[in-house]
């Protein structure tokens, strides 16, 4: 079993790669991909912390349901995150198709109608 720091390091790296992509890319779909990477990093963080660390976050729950099953709470949170991410991505992709139909581009630098 790897130590917690390994998981947290990978999570930080994934998050920052996603942040770089979100800022640097200009296509809306590429920005969505980067955003989903950041969400995956967050859920990895939640699962790793609830599985491998006891303490402030997991302590009460672990006492309540038995120490071995505190990680199931983190897994439930990660499942909910996946569900929200899926709903968000469905809406976002349909918006991109609508934007493409309206403005003939999904390059964010060309979508500047609201700029004053």
């Amino acid at each position: 079993m790897m130590p917690l720091a390994g998981y947290l390091t990978i999570s930080v790296a994934l998050f920052c790669i996603g942040l770089y992509g979100l800022v640097q890319r200009r296509s809306l779909i590429a920005m969505l991909i980067a955003l989903e990477l950041m969400l995956a990093a967050a859920s990895l963080n939640v699962v790793a912390l609830t599985t491998l660390a006891a303490g402030a976050a997991g302590g009460g729950v672990a006492r309540q349901i038995g120490a071995g099953h505190a990680s199931s709470v983190g897994q439930v949170v990660a499942l909910i995150l996946i569900g929200v991410a899926a709903a968000e991505a469905a809406i976002a992709l349909s918006l991109f198709v609508a934007i493409q139909r309206y403005a003939s581009t999904i390059n964010v630098e060309d979508l500047s109608e609201l700029k004053g």
């Binding site: 079993m1 720091a5 390994g6 998981y7 390091t9 990978i10 930080v12 790296a13 994934l14 920052c16 790669i17 996603g18 942040l19 770089y20 992509g21 800022v23 640097q24 890319r25 200009r26 779909i29 590429a30 991909i33 990477l37 995956a40 990895l44 699962v47 790793a48 912390l49 599985t51 491998l52 660390a53 006891a54 303490g55 997991g58 672990a62 120490a67 071995g68 099953h69 505190a70 990680s71 199931s72 897994q75 439930v76 990660a78 499942l79 996946i82 569900g83 991410a85 899926a86 709903a87 968000e88 991505a89 469905a90 992709l93 349909s94 198709v97 609508a98 493409q100 139909r101 999904i106």
Partner: protein
Amino acid sequence: MTWGTGLFWVSGTLALLGAVLAVGLRNIFHNILGFALALVGVAGLFLTLGSDFLAMVLILVYVGALAIAMVYAVMLSYPLDTKPEPRRLPKVVGAAALAMLAAAALFIVVLGAHFVAGTGPSETSAAWVGRRLLSDYVLAFELISVLLVVAMIGAVMVARKARMPKAPLQRAPRIIG
């Protein structure tokens, strides 16, 4: 090296490599493939944490559904024969600096925190996840189902072609008696 450690290193490498491919390549299809690779790596990391059900759900939802939906969105929206525009150096440098800054801040927080080692993964995780979802977290479970239905209907409504009336609306002739 045990089985879990090997899986950890392989999955971590896959996740980071996939993330770099998903962000760094120019072709949007290659980006989507890199994204799928990164999510397979994250699922492997979930496996090493004992979250087998979560790993399978992640692969199903992200790689199976989301990547396919992204490919559809690309095919519906991109002019596929145009060359991508060149990158602007100041923007790349600024984005990299921002990401590095965020990474440094997060590393300071993460490595400075003191975590008490827990008990490690349990054996029967899927059964416990199901029990949690249908007892303590049943409200969140139901809300997610409602959210998914609303998102699905909303996506259809947003993406379908708005039906413009071809001719001006014809009113029913009023009978003036």
